[in-house]
């Protein structure tokens, strides 16, 4: 009896725990709102009011009923396979691009649909010009080019007028035998004007735009890269300014100024040429040696024991990420296993796959080496994380990798840049099709503890299998 009740308690408690944890896990994952789900999953291919890879979602409610939409979003390929005529037509019309299957609950799907409806309404009020005036973009939309064409037209007409006036005046002076304009002088002076104004504009651009460029590197090798960038910049900038001053000043100084101007017959000077062959060669040698050293360190550096490994999987048009589970090993994969429900082609028979974690966004612990393993499904993509100074192409049929160590958490970067919306983002940087510009994934760098906490919240690839093992225990 005692024994029995104990077992019962054990059973009961484990059951409760499973339910509680299961619920917690579910809520942790099920938290994202319709807006988040939309921007993380749908926005790569769909816009509200414009066709992209898939159709504009405006009026989706009127086109199909909710039950159909839920079926479709969960597994569009199944709907097509069932012979649904609308689905087949849709698939064919949109270039047979299969929409990924989303393993979402009814509520999640409804929240996405609600978000679409909400956005549609917002757009409607914007285009009606109502509401609180809208954003600058809305104002610009109504203005189109504004008075740009008018300005251009005015410039052209003024130019024509000036030209005409110049012709009339110079023709009159020609009659008197006087050349009004010495064009050789004018062009010579214009080179000096160009030099001065040009250099001023260069300075202005540096002042204005350098602060928009990437902030301090958030990775170990990135800091080294930035140093090299700075050295290269100062060398090239000095050459840029010096040679341009020489070029334009010579053009001005040695312009023909009438009959008495003479050029110097000076066809060669081997010493000079030797000098300006050797100097660039020496400078470049220094840069090359430095460059090869850094390049070797980045690409052939040591792989550390306590690294974080993850797989990034690129497809038209989005990213998926997979962390190895507790075993630290990623399950094997095969592109022939890709299906609507197994979008990464993970080998389900491989025991290593079981605890792999599929995550919607990537969390990384700060100051730990990260090994990105890169794989593509269809065409070449490129994993570009500019804030970490990371880029590597993702090539179908040829796994690639990149190793780096993040050194700043997202929070630190937000403080550093004084921008509290800042997020590390992964972009695609190899032309890959219509929504190339829209392949995003959020990267979050956190402390070790936060990372571990986040990991435990992620669902494993085989939830079912996991649940089974849990119930057996």
């Amino acid at each position: 009896m005692k024994f029995q009740s104990l077992t019962a308690v054990k059973w009961l408690s484990s059951g409760v725990l499973t339910v509680v944890f299961g619920f917690l896990a579910l809520t942790a994952v099920a938290q994202p709102t319709g807006a988040e789900l939309f921007s993380n999953n749908c926005a790569a291919c769909h816009k509200i009011d414009q066709d992209l890879v898939g159709p504009a979602l405006k009026g989706i409610y009127d086109r199909r009923d909710e039950a159909w939409l839920i079926k479709w979003i969960r597994n569009s390929q199944a709907v097509i396979a069932s012979g649904d005529q609308y689905a087949v037509d849709l698939y064919n019309k949109w270039n047979k691009v299969a929409m990924p299957a989303y393993d979402w609950s009814d509520d999640e799907i409804k929240s996405v649909l609600a978000y679409v409806k909400e956005q549609e309404a917002a757009l409607a009020t914007q285009s009606a010009g109502g509401g609180d005036g809208g954003t600058a973009a809305v104002a610009a939309k109504r203005d189109g080019w504004g008075n740009g064409p008018l300005v251009i037209l005015t410039i052209i007409m003024l130019g024509a007028l000036l030209l005409y006036a110049g012709r009339v005046v110079s023709a009159r002076y020609k009659l008197k035998g006087v050349r009004l304009f010495n064009w050789n002088n004018i062009n010579g002076v214009l080179f000096i004007v160009f030099l001065v104004v040009g250099m001023a504009l260069v300075a202005f651009q540096f002042l204005k735009y350098m602060k928009f460029t990437l902030p301090v590197a958030a990775s170990e090798h990135g800091v080294v890269l930035d140093q090299m960038l700075a050295i290269t910049f100062w060398i090239t900038f000095v050459v840029f300014v010096a040679t341009h001053i020489l070029l334009f000043v010579y053009a001005f100084m040695y312009r023909n100024q009438g009959k008495e101007s003479k050029a110097l017959y000076y066809p060669d000077n081997h010493k000079l040429e030797f000098f300006w062959t050797v100097i660039p060669a020496v400078v470049l040698t220094v840069l090359v040696l430095y460059g090869t050293k850094v390049w070797r360190e980045i690409t052939q550096g040591e792989i550390e024991e306590n690294r974080v490994e993850l797989e990034l999987f690129a497809y038209q048009f989005g990213w998926q990420a997979r962390f190895p589970g507790a075993d630290g090993l990623l399950g094997s994969h095969d592109f022939r296993m890709i299906s609507a429900t197994n979008s990464m082609g993970i080998d389900e028979m491989d025991p290593n796959s079981k605890d792999d974690l599929l995550v919607p966004e990537v969390y990384l612990p700060v100051n730990r080496q990260v090994v990105l393993r890169l794989r593509a499904r269809d065409v070449i993509h490129s994993a570009y994380l500019p804030h970490f100074r990371v880029q590597m192409n993702v090539v179908p049929g040829m796994p690639t990798q990149f190793v780096f160590t993040p050194t700043m958490t997202t929070e630190e970067m937000r403080e550093k840049t004084n921008n509290y919306n800042f997020n590390y983002e992964l972009a695609c940087n190899k032309i890959c099709g219509a929504a190339h510009f829209n392949m995003r994934m959020k990267f979050v760098v956190v402390s070790e503890a936060e990372y571990e906490a986040w990991l435990t919240k992620q669902r494993t690839y085989f939830r079912k299998a996991e649940a089974q093992t849990a119930s057996i225990n």
């Binding site: 062009n187 928009f212 080294v224 040695y254 017959y265 592109f335 049929g397 983002e425």
Partner: protein
């Protein structure tokens, strides 16, 4: 070489078709290339304006786009697929059709026979064939703009699998097929042209026109043609393999692909293989585009600074050096493709070496201007502009050639800025300089100089306003070929700058209308050109203004000196044409020239460096004593 054709070429009657259409005269073929190139340039520029419109005003709608483009501009917005097609076609047309065929085709054809003293090309028939293949390929490329699934949209580098699979992007359907057919014809045309140029230069020089007396234009056309002959076939191979992958189910470039709901039965290929083949042409191609422009600039600067080009031998040497090196640097386009990092090291070293001959060229241009007596013709303005752009764009090559820095700059707007300055605009400036300079030789008329000045200053300013700010976007990690930048927070702050760039691009393009008007107006109404309008030394200015068949009415002139005897002290004029014998010069000039130097005053090999160089030339049989 000196065969004197006794019959008069200009006497026999030519029909309209054989004179203007299927002409075998190098001058007419040059003009055909130029006009075709200009049409392609206008189309390519208009395409770029369409996508600049999208980048400058991504949130706006332009109803006229729908009327113009139909489905590609639905709702007054550019379709993202069509945006990529625009980018692709802009690049293809500009790089191949304008700056390769338009530039080389025009000036190699026009100047090679003229400047080496030949009556025509080695094979006038092949020359004609070369143009008509180019014409056909241009037509096919333009036709591809009108197919339903759109023109090629995989970028001008057409990397597979994107270019191999119609499922990946609609442009990879019929559009890509036409692109490949067009490029195949283009390559055939280019090879015929190049072989002809090389043969003509090596075999048909007039008496006294030693290799070391050739103008730098001819040297640049020679090296360009050699590059073309050696590298274009590799692109042809790449294209043929791609055609096989697309149409016959092979897998040279394809492996492990799942697309449009199915796993393709293609395995074992490598997309990277295509990139190696493509860039084996692609990198020399950059110099195929640039070197003729540098040659033209050398000639224009020397003539208008009234000074010998500084360091003729170094200029030739740097052309040869650049040509050689350009074959072994292609990997710098592939640092982040996953290529073996060791190769990255090799290619970085070789790439940065190529900066040395480029630097030599720049300094030699500066030294030529120094203490010159500069005449600012429109051609001279564009030549000086080229030097400026060559410096600005060349220096950023030092960043991109560095594999480590390339990690973060690869495929960003920094690259866009770099190659548009150094390859795009610089070559375009060389081409414009050439048109202004040799217009009298083509049409017997002068272009309006003042409109030329206006054209230059507007263009020069616009080029810098458009491309210089792009460096900053690149330093912010803004990727190229993006349909808009509103999706990413860190990119969206460039909105205003993008609009500014678009406005500058529109104004800069409008300025080209001045040139086009000037060009066509002057053909009929321009001032008649004198025989030698720029007081130049080279042989083409000894031909009559009327441009007769066979170039010279009588015997082909003999050459007695190098082409850069400008402002020789003691000479009666500030130029001594190549045809002038030493005996015809004042006594004082004869003595020092004859005694120590075989070619010109300072040709004596006084240092080990020049000695080595002349031995190097001897190796190629280039220096005949």
């Amino acid at each position: 070489m000196s065969h004197n054709h006794e019959h008069h070429h200009d006497h026999h009657q030519e029909s309209f078709i054989s004179k203007y259409i299927f002409s075998m005269d190098h001058k007419m073929i040059a003009k055909q290339y130029l006009i075709t190139g200009m049409i392609m340039a206008v189309v390519a520029a208009l395409l770029s304006l369409l996508f600049r419109l999208q980048l400058g005003w991504p949130e706006d709608t332009f109803p006229w786009l729908e009327s113009l483009l139909g489905d590609w501009g639905k709702g007054g917005r550019l379709d993202p697929n069509f945006y990529l097609a625009l980018v692709t076609m802009h690049g293809t047309l500009m790089v191949f059709f304008v700056l390769t065929a338009g530039l080389s085709g025009t000036f190699s054809n026009l100047l090679i026979p003229f400047q080496i003293g030949a009556r025509d090309m080695a094979s006038p028939f092949m020359n004609m064939l070369s143009y008509w293949l180019f014409f056909l390929s241009s037509v096919i490329m333009l036709v591809s703009l009108f197919v339903e699934s759109g023109p090629a949209a995989a970028g001008w580098t057409i990397y597979p699998p994107l270019s191999a699979l119609p499922q990946a992007v609609p442009g990879s359907g019929l559009g890509m097929t036409l692109w490949l057919i067009s490029m195949t014809l283009f390559i055939a045309s280019s090879l015929m042209g190049s072989l002809n140029y090389i043969t003509t230069i090596l075999n048909m020089r007039t008496v006294g026109m030693k290799m070391t007396r050739m103008p730098l234009t001819i040297w640049s056309f020679l090296t360009t043609s050699i590059l073309g002959v050696l590298s274009f076939p590799v692109l042809l191979a790449a294209a043929v393999l791609l055609i096989f992958d697309r149409s016959f189910g092979t897998s040279f470039y394809l492996s492990d692909i799942f697309i449009a709901g199915e796993a393709l039965n293609r395995q074992g290929g490598s997309p990277i293989l295509f990139q190696h083949l493509f860039w084996f042409l692609g990198h020399p191609e950059v110099y195929i585009v640039l070197m003729p422009a540098l040659g033209i600039t050398s000639e224009v600067i020397a003539t208008n600074a009234r000074k010998p080009i500084f360091g003729y031998r170094a200029m030739v040497g740097s052309l040869l050096g650049i040509s050689f090196l350009s074959f072994i640097v292609w990997g710098h386009h592939m640092f982040v493709t996953g290529m073996n990092p060791f190769l990255g090291n090799v290619f970085m070293i070789l790439t940065l070496v190529i900066a040395v001959p480029s630097a030599v060229k720049t300094f030699n241009y500066l030294a030529t201007l120094w203490k010159g007596n500069i005449r600012f013709t429109p051609a001279m303005l564009f030549a000086i502009g080229l030097v400026s752009l060559f410096i600005s764009g060349g220096l950023t090559g030092i960043y991109l050639g560095n594999a480590a820095l390339d990690i973060n700059l690869h495929d960003t707007y920094f690259v866009v800025a770099h190659f548009h300055l150094v390859m795009g605009s610089a070559s375009m400036f060389g081409m414009l300089a050439g048109v202004y300079h040799w217009y009298p030789k083509m049409f017997g008329k002068l272009m309006n100089e003042k409109l030329g000045y206006l054209h230059f200053w507007l263009t020069f300013a616009a080029v810098y306003l458009v491309f210089f700010p792009m460096h900053f976007m690149g330093l912010d990690g803004v990727p190229r070929r993006y349909y808009n930048f509103t999706g990413f927070e860190y990119m969206s702050e460039w909105m205003d700058l993008n609009r500014f760039i678009s406005v500058s691009a529109i104004l800069g393009s409008a300025a080209q209308l001045i040139f086009i008007w000037n060009f066509f107006y002057s053909i009929r109404k321009g001032k008649d050109a004198p025989q030698n309008p720029w007081n130049s030394n080279t042989l083409e200015w000894t031909t009559p203004v009327e441009r007769i068949h066979g170039n010279w009415p009588g015997e082909i002139p003999h050459v007695h000196r190098w082409p850069y005897d400008y402002s020789v002290p003691g000479a009666p004029q500030d130029f001594i044409p190549q045809t002038v014998k030493d005996d015809d010069l004042p006594e004082t000039l004869r003595a020092p020239k004859v005694a120590p130097a075989p070619e010109h005053a300072t040709a004596e090999a006084s240092t080990t460096e020049t000695l080595l160089f002349s031995r190097f030339l001897n190796l190629f049989g280039l220096k005949r004593a």
